[in-house]
């Protein structure tokens, strides 16, 4: 069909390294054996049914339950919880005579609670179901026979079907690529959904099938694929294709994975080999580790404590009950004859008091079960879901640019957000926005580029010094108009470079930028503008820079790279193309990449760019003309946080090249274990004697608001560790940029690049790359020496640093620890890690550079396990996944690096700076809400449960409940639950504005002040006191005398209803007293609960006595007309609240907690009084050691000491400074005033 439009390119050689390896491997011999038994008959409708039976269709189900399994499975999940199981047992037992109450009344609340949770599960699962339906009903073109392709749903695909996938569509199943619109049957695949990598991957079909480029070709296409069984390994695949009696080996190169996307390719044909759950992506789908917050863990402990109390009081009760029962029958004489102890059931049998006591124990366990809040778990779950909705809905955490709001993926950890002690942050994409801007360069020893870097900008913002008006101008004018390009220098822009002294070097430099890369141009057909698809943002920045400076790369074929170059002579653009001969790819070990091209004049050029550490040693003696200046520039660039690369080239002669090419091709096709080393060696042989051109500096831009956010977090007492894969210099620079480091801070650098280790390494195999040396140390005894030497060196450095730590403690000097990945390997070993951690904790900021994903996770684990404090990991890339899953909370940045981090995170935000609001506002609130809520829950249940116990004291521990059965069972469900939920969802101690203005407030969470055992026990005691007041006041006021004018006395039902009324009042009013934020919702819930109790009492009392039993008309006939009932309620209400109220007012007045001080400030209207606020804000014993504030203070201290030294006081400048200070405060106050 599209024959005319088809581009006939051979791309294979661009990716020489990856493509050339599809040889028959050993693994292929396994085919047909166990684990490799799948046989796929391609395009064979006769066998389609067979394949459907044996391999299933392409239907994918991600739901937890099916319609059939929902009820049993979700019930099972529920009753796995100890508390729920206990209630289930109680419910079952309540149908037996041991029960103190009727069975039905006890089952109802359990049913309500279980049903509520099940509804929640159902809704969640239903959403997944809808996603499944959407996914399963996507359309794809399937071969229906006779070369006709028809649209079909994904779910109907069968193994063996041939499908046609168009550009930008997702692959519906795992496919074997047969052909594409390209002649060499390649296609580009975006695997962002799988591994988070944004760069395109190249896939190529086998030659045997590459010509099947038309629908009609498939009319008679038959093939048999034998391959491995479904497995989770994304990067391996073994199989073979039998096509026309010829066998071809299949490799991952031919495998197209479900959920990846076809890009830059018009269409492909593929045959389905894995469907549905057999696909690799589905095999990989595992649930992230479920995390529980510390508060919840402590809550479990409290529940266990309550169980202990429950058992204890039941036990006491049983003993007394046993004794009393034993007493009832003495020598055949009944004591309490009215109980007929002579003729009784086993439960009350005085002849076997032990059995009676044991059975009574069961009764008591059920009766006092009200100590354990049945609705706690479900309430907390509801609250947390609502809290996450609030987090999701926060407009202040919505990032308009990418259209992403914050997204709490799990609601389990909301309160944990309020307790974070250490943040472990990735750098790239998290602190920085992973957008590279070409900002400076050094060509031929001359530095070009006047753009201001973020670091310079941050510094100038902070310093507020009048220094360089010109600098400020530069800042204001430096708004990059082109993404990735922020370069300003008229000397070389607009073609002016031709007038520079070293014009030819500049020409070569720019040409190298335009040629030496692996980017792919995309031409917008309307505007003709070229944009680039590159593997890394650096590379894109280079190509863009080259384009902007006059070397526009616009076309790439398998053999040529075409540029539009500015001709210095004519000033016109001329098209030139370079024959691409070889690409020597970039790898992290090589740290450089090169291309070998032949230009139009036939010259052979090796163009190379790479890190300074590897490039300088490859420069020829005669190529070092600008070395000195370049080095100087590089160090300047690095200081301001820029990424630098060295550009160099050399001309090759034909002979040399031919020799190289021959060896290189041979080596690539070599099948041997050390093939890679051989290739490496051959490449090294040609990448030498280079001529230095210059260096580039690319800025890794900090995200908006990062320094400010870090400052706030530091003020809140949160420690920030940066774990980055970047090199030390870059990491340090970023550290400076975000004020984690500053001048005057003592830097402890632990590095394996110390002179001694270097010399050791030199002694051994100098040529071996460092990493290899470490990796191979097991193999060679010689290098084992290095291994130990480095380790001992690391230990020594740690020891030295620690002495520094102790001495600096005295002079309050902040320390910064910077450690590189290699040293980290040793520092994380079991015998060293404790001292490492001790050092790290003592330091104000910690930066780990060059750390691998695994090391990131290990460091996170170390901090989490050893300090026991809450860790939060934040990152955006696939390399942060381990760290995110390891930390107590994983925050994913939904940035440009794909979804991998987000998918394994607990909460996703769009920008690092939202962390401030997430932690300081939402975290603090959620922590406070959940902890208050749990405390309150225990309070209310203890207050209720103990009245039951006290009553038993007066009922000879017989297990008679003081209240009507339904009062009992509805206590937790109706009369007290909604206010608690309102507390958990809406309560605010201070407004979000104040949370942010007084970051120190966050310490309440870190130090766990609101959920300390002291506080929990305090609430429990308050509950006991309340219940004691309620019970004893009730029985004393309603003794044996008449309780109303009619002379009627108090019966069990009257006492019960009165006491219950008191409990409902007290518990709800206690809530009203302890919350500090009343919206109409709180009013409705609190007062509504009380009113509802009366309504219930009325309604229930009006029902036929056979159902309402003791509650029949108790309110309308007995209670309501009796003034004493109302007076007793009032008395008990006030008396029960009095202890708490007195405590709270004394505490508020004399020992206010931090949030209460802020409340004072707000109340007193002193938010506009800067000194007042400042006093509160600064009243921290903890020293803020990092962040811009600390930096400012440090610089002030420094200045002060300097001034002291010179002993010159410029009063004028001081006045200015003071007035500035006051002004800034005033403005702060004003903004608050609003």
């Amino acid at each position: 069909m599209a024959g005319g439009r088809r581009r006939r390119h051979h791309f294979s050689r661009i990716h020489a390294f990856t493509c050339g390896r599809a040889s028959m491997r050993e693994e292929h011999s396994l085919i047909g054996g166990p684990g490799f038994s799948r046989k796929v008959y391609c395009n064979d409708p006769e066998r389609a049914m067979e394949s459907l039976l044996s391999y299933g269709d392409n239907y994918v189900r991600t739901t937890k339950y099916t319609l059939a399994t929902f009820i049993p499975k979700s019930l099972f999940e529920q009753f796995r919880r100890v508390a729920n199981f206990y209630f289930l047992v109680c419910a079952v037992l309540s149908f037996f005579p041991v029960s103190p109450y009727s069975g039905v009344s006890n089952v109802v609340p359990l049913l309500v609670v279980v049903a509520a949770t099940m509804v929640k599960e159902f809704i969640e699962d239903f959403r997944r179901k809808q996603q499944d339906i959407e996914m399963n009903n996507r359309k794809v073109k399937v071969h229906r026979g006779d070369g006709v392709f028809d649209i079909s749903k994904w779910r109907d695909l069968k193994v063996g079907d041939v499908v046609r996938v168009e550009k930008d569509e997702f692959f519906p199943a795992d496919l074997i690529l047969l052909a594409s619109n390209y002649d060499d049957a390649i296609c580009y695949v975006e695997t962002m959904n799988l591994d988070g990598e944004t760069n395109l991957k190249l896939k190529q079909a086998l030659e045997g099938s590459s010509m099947l480029q038309e629908d009609s070709n498939y009319q008679n296409f038959r093939a048999v694929i034998t391959c491995e069984d479904p497995n989770a390994n994304l990067y391996t695949f073994v199989g073979s294709l039998d096509l026309e009696d010829q066998q071809y080996p299949l490799a991952p190169q031919q495998l197209l994975l479900r959920d990846s996307k076809l890009r830059n390719t018009d269409f492909i044909y593929g045959v389905v080999i894995f469907t549905g759950h057999d696909t690799k992506v589905m095999q990989n789908a595992t649930d992230p580790p479920s995390k529980r917050s510390k508060i919840e863990k402590r809550m479990d402990k409290i529940i266990y404590c309550l169980f202990v109390v429950l058992i204890l009081i039941s036990f006491i009760g049983s003993i007394f009950f046993g004794l009393m029962t034993d007493d009832d029958l003495e020598n055949g004489r009944m004591k309490r004859w009215y109980l007929r102890p002579d003729n009784t059931e086993i439960y009350y049998d005085p002849n076997s008091p032990v059995v009676a006591a044991i059975l009574h124990f069961l009764t008591a366990l059920m009766l006092y079960g009200y100590l354990i809040p049945i609705s706690l778990y479900v309430s907390i779950e509801i609250v947390k879901v609502l809290q996450s909705i609030f987090i999701n809905q926060d407009v202040h955490m919505y990032y308009a640019e990418t259209d992403k709001p914050a997204h709490a993926r799990t609601s389990n950890l909301n309160e944990e957000l309020g307790q974070v002690d250490t943040i472990l942050s990735d750098k790239t994409g998290t602190l920085t926005c992973n957008s590279m801007e070409f900002i400076k360069c050094s060509i031929a020893g001359v530095a070009y580029g006047r753009g201001a870097t973020e670091v310079e900008r941050a510094l100038s913002r902070r310093q507020e010094t009048p220094f360089s008006q010109e600098f400020k101008e530069r800042i204001s004018e430096s708004k990059p108009s082109i993404k990735g390009f922020n370069f300003k220098d008229e000397r070389i822009m607009n073609g002016n470079w031709a007038k520079e002294p070293n014009a030819n070097v500049i020409q070569n430099f720019l040409r190298l930028l335009a040629v030496c890369h692996t980017a792919i141009p995309e031409i917008d057909e309307e505007t003709g503008k070229v944009s680039y698809e590159a593997e890394s943002p650096d590379e894109a920045a280079f190509v863009i820079a080259a384009r902007e400076l006059g070397f526009e790369f616009y076309e790439r074929t398998h053999t040529t790279i075409s540029l539009r170059e500015l001709d210095p002579m004519s000033g016109n653009k001329i098209e030139r193309s370079y024959k691409l001969l070889n690409i020597l790819e970039f790898s992290s070990a090589r740290k450089r990449m090169s291309v070998i091209v032949r230009d139009e004049e036939g010259k052979l050029l090796l163009l190379s760019k790479g890190a300074d550490s590897v490039m300088f040693e490859r420069i020829a003696k005669n190529g070092r003309e600008f070395e000195e200046y370049t080095k100087q520039h590089i160090s300047e660039y690095a200081d301001s946080g820029l990424r630098t690369l060295i550009l160099a080239y050399r001309e090759l002669n034909e002979e040399e090249y031919n020799q190289f090419n021959k060896e290189f091709t041979e080596a690539k096709n070599l099948v041997s274990a050390d093939q890679e080393q051989i290739v490496e060696r051959i490449i090294q042989s040609i990448e030498k004697d280079l001529i230095l051109l210059g260096a580039t500096a690319v800025e890794d831009k900090l995200q908006d608001g990062v320094p400010e956010c870090i400052d706030k977090l530091a003020q809140a007492g949160i420690k920030l560790w940066v774990l980055t894969g970047d090199k030390m210099e870059t990491a340090i620079n970023i550290g400076f940029a975000c004020s984690l480091l500053r001048q005057g801070m003592k830097q402890i650098i632990i590095s394996s690049d110390t002179p001694e280790t270097k010399s050791l390494e030199k002694m051994e195999d100098k040529s071996a790359a460092e990493v290899i040396a470490i990796a191979c140390c097991i193999n060679f005894d010689g290098t084992l020496l290095i291994f130990q030497a480095i380790k001992s060196s690391v230990i020594r450095q740690l020891r030295e640093a620690k002495t520094l730590l102790t001495t600096s403690d005295e002079n309050f000097e902040a320390l910064a620890l910077i450690i590189d990945g290699k040293s980290l390997t040793y520092a994380l070993e079991d015998d060293v890690k404790d001292s490492f951690l001790e050092l790290a904790i003592g330091c104000a900021s910690v930066i780990c550079c060059r750390s691998s994903p695994k090391q990131k996770a290990l460091v996170t684990r170390l901090v989490k396990m050893r300090t026991g404090s809450t860790t939060l990991a934040i990152g955006d890339g696939a390399n942060d996944v381990g760290m995110l899953q390891e930390a107590d909370i994983g925050i994913g940045i939904s940035g440009v690096e794909g979804m991998q981090a987000v998918m394994s995170s607990d909460i996703a935000i769009a920008q690092f700076r939202y962390l401030e609001r997430l932690l300081l506002v939402h975290g603090h609130w959620c922590y406070r809400r959940i902890s208050s809520m749990i405390c309150y829950f225990f309070y209310k249940n203890i207050a209720f449960g103990f009245t039951l116990f006290f009553f038993e004291l007066y009922a000879s521990f017989s297990g008679q409940a003081a209240y009507n059965d339904w009062f009992l069972s509805l206590y937790n469900v109706f009369f007290t639950s909604l206010p608690v939920i309102a507390l958990g969802v809406f309560d605010q101690d201070v407004s979000s504005k104040h949370c942010l203005r007084f970051p120190l407030l966050y310490q309440e969470g870190i130090q766990n002040i609101l959920f300390s055992w002291k506080r929990i026990i305090g609430w429990a005691l308050n509950g006991v006191v309340t219940s004691a007041i309620i019970f004893f006041f009730c029985i004393r006021t309603m003794e044996h005398q008449a309780f109303r004018k009619g002379g009627q006395v108090v019966g069990l039902e009257v006492l019960g209803a009165t006491m219950y009324t008191c409990v409902v009042w007290v518990v709800n009013c206690q809530m009203a007293l302890s919350i500090s934020y009343f919206t109409y919702i709180q009013h409705i819930f609190i007062w509504g609960s009380i009113i509802f109790w009366y309504i219930f009492l009325l309604a229930y009392g009006a029902i036929d006595p056979s159902f309402s039993t003791t509650a029949y008309k108790v309110f309308i006939e007995a209670l309501a007309p009796a003034p004493s009932f109302w007076f007793i309620t009032l008395l008990i209400l006030i008396a029960s609240l009095l202890p708490y109220f007195v405590y709270a007012s004394i505490q508020m007045r004399f020992f206010p907690m931090y949030h209460q001080m802020i409340q004072w400030i707000r109340k007193d209207g002193q938010t506009s009084d800067p000194e007042y606020c400042d006093m509160v804000r600064q009243r921290s014993i903890r020293h803020t050691t990092v962040g811009t504030t600390a930096r400012l203070e440090a610089s002030k201290r420094l200045e002060a000491s300097k001034r002291l030294e010179i002993s010159v006081h410029s009063s004028a400048s001081k006045r200015i400074e003071l007035s500035n200070f006051a002004a800034s405060k005033r403005s702060e106050g004003n903004s608050e005033d609003r």
């Binding site: 605010q988 004018k1045 009095l1138 409340q1159 004072w1160």
Partner: protein, 345 residues
Amino acid sequence: MASSSAAGAGSTDPTAARRNNTKRPKYSKFTQQELPACKPILTPRAVISAFLLVSVVFVPIGVAALIASRKVVEIVYRYESKCIPPNVTDKVAYIQSSADKTCKFSLHVEKHMKSPIYVYYQLDNFYQNHRRYVKSRSDEQLRDPGEEDSTSACKPEDTANGKAIVPCGLIAWSLFNDTYSFSRDNHNLTVNKKGISWKSDREHKFGKNVFPKNFQNSSIKGGASLNESIPLSEQEDLIVWMRTAALPTFRKLYGKIEVDLNEGDSINVTLQNKYNTYSFNGRKKLVLSTTSWLGGKNDFLGIAYLTVGGLCFFLALAFTIVYFVKPRQLGDPTYLSWNRNPGGH
């Protein structure tokens, strides 16, 4: 709420972006947690006012309650040992015997007692709230003549001689059976036994056409017998008894004397001491009492009100003094003592 939760969940869904142009959360005061709210804090002024308010309300109530309680005239006579002939050693045997247990004594009226005067009997150490006891009744049977046989809860007082007992159960079986009669100056004081029970009990819980049957016919006789010709709804002694007491010491209404008793009157009481409280060492008391608007004589409510009111007044005073003597100072570092021991360091 519903819409917000849908939007919140929608953000997971890649298709949501296509459907709506933006995922920007909708601004509302509710979702941004900025609802207008009252944020009370315990300022000294609020605390002092609260204490004062409580004391202002409580003290008068306490005084009124105390006055009401003091106005009630109560005559309590404990008789369980006085009504046993002094020569009897085995009280239980005595009380179970069929001997004449009439007991006479006189009560002195110390203060004018305005009618109605309520007559109570007070038992002690009697666990009417025992679980076995409380459950041992059949409400169906009491209400409905057709439900005569629903006696499953009544064991062992469910059947006698193979027939269901009406009313069944331990409560009915142990019905109090001491009787009192009163005379003043040789004139009988009639004790009105009507209207001593709850109206709802008479009308809805005890059937008008349910008659006692087979009652007190089992091997051991419990308490009182019932007149089989009177329906349960009119057996008010039973109805009162069957409202089980909450505490082991309780009074039950026996009847009402509907004439005033004057100061100095001497009331002669003739008492049939039949009820066995001796096996469990229970005391028995006869109580004559008037009532006030708050009920019977009990000072506790008044005292408690006065105590709480007084305490609040004292606290208000104390807070006021502190307020004036030592005004609150913000920024006093001692307030921040919690921050001294930074955790994790």
